[in-house]
Amino acid sequence: MAEVALERARHEPVVIEEGWAPKIVRFAGKLPVHLILALIGLFWLVPTAGLFVTSILAPADQSAGGWWNFAIKPHAWTFENYRSMFDNEGITHALVVTAQITLGATILPILVASLAAYALAWIEFPGRDWAFLIVIALLLVPIQMALIPMFSLYNTSGLFDTIPGLILFHSAFALPFAIFLLRNFFAGIPRDLMEAARIDGASELRLFFKVILPLGLPAIASLAIFQVLFVWNDLLIGLVLTQNNQPIAPHLAAQLRQFGSNLNVLAPASFFSAVIPLTIFAAFQRYFVQGLLAGSVK
């Protein structure tokens, strides 16, 4: 199922050209639908807009009244909160940590997973199907299951509160899905291509780098986007496994207790932390949707 959808998403629907008159008639006939959709769409945007407007208000204005009163008063807007956010060492440090983790925990699992996926798709060995079944089973292991033992293990091994520690944890939990997705994608690579390369005497490694990786790029891209969003947005893992090197979400979570009076810190930082994934989402939307379609089993 997932792969069908993935396939579909690649073909944009064909638009048939037609005259103006029928278009207008049809538009008028569907006016209620347009209206409803416009309202829903607006409703979907309002909450995020509210956070943004709140983030550009002076603390006094934030507590003085609702953000909607200032939505159309540009003179009340100020980027002071953002400036003090970048002066806030705790937050900048958290952002740097988050970026480092995201980078590491995106590249590493993709590398490890594509190696494994290649083996599962194209190298015949006894127990291969069982190995893949285990991967599928591991897809559903909740993170909660690993927290307590890993917390203890991290503390004894010195990985607690370190960036490598977080990267490794994220990478491991990304693997089942990554292997699953890539294996299915790699398996779809035309066999003649592989056969031809093998007859040419290419080694498995060479095959992997010269044939599989380039052809698998679309799936890898989807996976990368997914992983970037997942790691960047993580709260739970960071909350448990870090103390002073907290990523942004766990770092901000500490501010939540004082929601009423901390909006001048919380609002800009939350919005800024959302801007990065939103940009990535906007830039690579197509891959994101593809990954989503393929990943709807997770």
């Binding site: 909450p47 509210g50 494994a116 083996a119 006894p126 909740p142 299951m145 939990f173 709807s296």
Partner: protein, 443 residues
């Protein structure tokens, strides 16, 4: 269903040397085995075992920790809430996704709509929590939802002059927001003293004079309403110097026998009022309830009873876009001619939808539905970010409770392990279904 990705592929051109049959794939699989072994398999086994030990981990306690899941109120609430979530949310998300997908199907600007609905999926659930916590603030001056509700409501109701006022002494009966009535009946020619407290000096219009005892009125009833308070309290029931008049208060004259209101007036700028030409008889003077009519302040979204629906709604806001995109892709895959055939047979749009589209979409809808069940069982960030401390016990879910018991300073590792294991057990049916599906597809 899998046109492009055959599972029986990749047979080798030449049979490998026996040792290579394992060595090569093992080399490719080794890093993954290491990661999955250390970070997933080991802790899963370890947590399951740990759940049978006490919180310190030094005493075997059997299934005691699992008993606590059902005996401790808060954890049991989490189980109940998880149940509610599974019951309500996936169905709602799937229906909303279906609705959106169908609505946008033939709208030219659907892309813009889809982006708007889809966007929340890219934002961290933590930021989503902050966004909605802001929306749900109770005070209509801060929370957008209550502000909207109050704005609509405000069109239909009016606010009283002094919403917090109370009687100053037992010369008056009743309490706001109901009417406050003078205990002693009055006759024409009498005066009525209505002393109120609980009025802020700043609530009274600037320039209002001190209250004065009113002159009796021939054949009528006169009186004064005033802020019966001077620093330290003053003497209740007496008009003293420095006590300000209260203008704009609704005064009712009620028949002492029937209790029915016979006349109504409003206190003047100096707090006095007068009912002229009153028929002889016994009357009671009251401060009408409109004076105390407090404006509707919206719903207590973050309070104990609405917090779970509130968090559910935020979750739906995030995931509706996911459901919409998947279902829209499924919709695009339905052969047009089937629907056209139904239409030519005279089926209405609704019938086409109900009898053709939905059945054909069933596999996609199932995928969305199941994905949502799994997603719902993992909800953690939203509870942490949206529920204020006082409502966490009402909002809690298993994934959240596991963290709270084990890590938020409590270090109850035995109990936390039991919650995690219980959560894993809830996933097992889906795990089996996944494996089944793979095996049938592989065959």
């Amino acid at each position: 269903m899998r046109p492009e990705f055959p599972l029986e592929e990749g047979t080798r051109a030449q049979p490998p040397a026996p040792w290579r049959a394992f060595a090569v794939p093992l080399a490719f699989l080794a890093p993954a085995i290491f990661f999955l072994g250390v970070w997933l398999l080991y802790p899963t086994v370890r947590t399951a075992i740990r759940s049978l030990y006490n919180d310190r981990g030094d005493t075997f306690v059997g299934i005691d920790n699992y008993r606590r899941l059902f005996n401790e109120d808060v954890i049991f609430t989490a189980i109940k809430n998880n149940f509610l979530w599974v019951l309500i949310v996936p169905a709602l998300v799937t229906s909303i996704g279906l609705l959106f997908a169908v609505l946008t199907e033939r709208v030219r600007w659907a892309v813009a709509f889809k982006i708007a609905v889809f966007m929340p999926l890219a934002i961290s659930l933590f930021a989503v929590g902050v966004i909605w916590r802001l929306m749900y603030q109770q005070s209509p001056e801060r929370g957008a939802i209550n502000a909207a509700i109050v704005a609509v409501q405000g069109v239909f109701s009016e606010q009283g002059a002094f919403t917090q006022a109370q009687p100053s002494s037992d010369q008056l009966e009743g309490r706001s927001p109901r009417a406050i009535v003078l205990a002693e009946p009055v006759q024409p020619g009498d005066t009525a003293l209505l002393g109120l407290t609980g009025v802020r000096a700043s609530e009274i219009p600037e320039g209002t004079p001190d209250a004065a005892r009113p002159e009796p009125l021939q054949g009528g009833i006169s009186g004064v309403v005033w802020r019966d308070f001077s620093p330290g309290g003053g003497t209740p029931g007496e008009v003293e110097s420095g006590e300000t008049a209260l203008p704009g208060v609704t005064i009712e004259l009620r028949s002492a026998d029937t209790g029915r209101t016979v006349s109504r007036t409003t206190s003047g700028d100096d707090g006095t009022f007068a009912f002229e030409d009153v028929d002889p008889g016994s009357y009671r003077v009251a401060v009408g309830p409109t004076t105390f009519a407090a404006p509707f302040r919206g719903f207590n979204w973050l309070g104990e009873s609405l917090i779970t629906p509130a968090i559910m709604f935020a979750y739906i806001w995030v995931t509706a876009g996911f459901a919409m995109v998947i279902i829209a892709a499924g919709l695009a895959a339905i052969p047009r001619d089937v629907m056209e055939a139904a239409r030519t047979d005279g089926a209405s749009e609704w019938q086409v939808f109900r009898r053709v589209t939905v059945p054909l979409l069933a596999p996609v809808l199932t995928v969305v539905f199941v994905t949502q069940i799994i997603g719902v069982l993992k909800v953690f960030d939203l509870v942490l970010a949206i529920a204020p401390g006082s409502a966490r016990d009402n909002a809690t879910l298993l994934a959240f409770e596991m963290w709270r018991k084990a890590f938020s300073g409590q270090l109850q590792f035995g109990l936390g392990s039991a919650i995690a294991t219980f959560l894993l057990l809830l996933f097992i049916p889906f795990l089996i279904a996944n494996i089944r599906r793979f095996r049938t597809e592989a065959r």
